[in-house]
Symmetry: C2
Subunit: 194 residues, 2 copies
């Protein structure tokens, strides 16, 4: 069954970006790397398998405009998605086909419409929300998220963008579905109880 | 070797008390129980073993004044410590012996002096900081904490007292020492790298 599944790395003190990201222009995704070492420099076989499973199970990605703006240049061409990517935004814009199977499509009719379009593109695979924090909270609050993956990183950042900031969790119940330990992260998976 | 070890339950969104605790008078320890189900109603053999190991390895407890004020009445007599308890406070007060091995001693000469006195009382066992958030942060920041145990609870509270709030982690490195899963908590243990 198709699920809508979010995925993000979070420091022990609750941040998904480094402190600089909260100052001035949005810098989501531009942290100095400590949150993402488990994916790159410090990866183990288990970490590699977790990322591989994520890509294999996801048919299309949904993201916020801020994350797109920050990520677009560093992701390059081909971007590291290899599947359709839908960007929730207020500005209409033509789809942007990239190499390697990624097309960025800009959706301006709100989160529910964006989800419908991403679902259709995902086929029988999952819809992935791979950040940022704000779009994850919106879908969680709207009761549209089925599953949250949080990679909890044993680091304190002291500032940045919090995953859960001013978030009213009323009516939202989580059930921990699995937990996998690697040196760089505690990979937690939560089911959102409907 | 004697260690100084903190221990606290924290929600996935980073709170150690329920939202009501941030309003009006301090209510630390007075949450509705979802953070502490793993210790009481929902406990498993593994949870019981974790608490038993904590008590067996701890020789004396150090706490902040606010936690003492809130906890004193519900803890009752005998309190659930069974060992010396040192309370960091600004008000001098006579020691308060209780039943069952707990004596509350009030220490007014700052956190370092409080630690020295608690160390002496703990003998060759550990000094335990079992809350609240503020005193834990003070000892962590001062480089005096050897180990942090955080019971991460799969619940979102949306408000309350944050464990890491306005905390500058500069110079503090953590290494995850162990992680144990139970249905009610992910029991994480971090070594503070010196």
């Amino acid at each position: 069954m198709q699920k809508m599944s979010s995925e993000i790395s979070m420091s022990l003190d609750g941040f998904i970006t480094d402190p600089k990201a909260s100052v001035g222009s949005p810098l989501e995704g531009n942290d100095p790397g400590r949150l993402h070492d488990w994916r790159f420099d410090a990866k183990t076989e288990t970490d590699i398998a977790i990322v591989a499973e994520l890509y294999a199970s996801t048919g299309a990605v949904l993201m916020g405009k801020r994350m797109f703006d920050v990520g677009f240049e560093p992701w390059g061409d081909p971007p590291p998605f290899g599947m359709p990517v839908f960007v929730v935004t207020h500005e209409a814009r033509e789809p942007l086909p990239m190499q390697g199977g990624t097309t960025y499509t800009f959706v301006t009719d709100g989160i529910e419409d964006a989800l419908e379009r991403t679902r259709a593109a995902a086929g029988d695979k999952n819809v992935g929300i791979w950040g940022g924090a704000d779009i994850m909270r919106q879908y969680l609050k709207a009761g549209l998220l089925d599953e949250m993956q949080i990679h909890l990183i044993p680091v304190l950042l002291g500032g940045g963008i919090r995953l859960f900031e001013d978030f009213d969790p009323e009516g939202i119940e989580l059930r921990r579905a699995s937990s996998i330990e690697t040196p760089g992260a505690t990979h937690l998976r939560f089911e959102v109880v409907k």
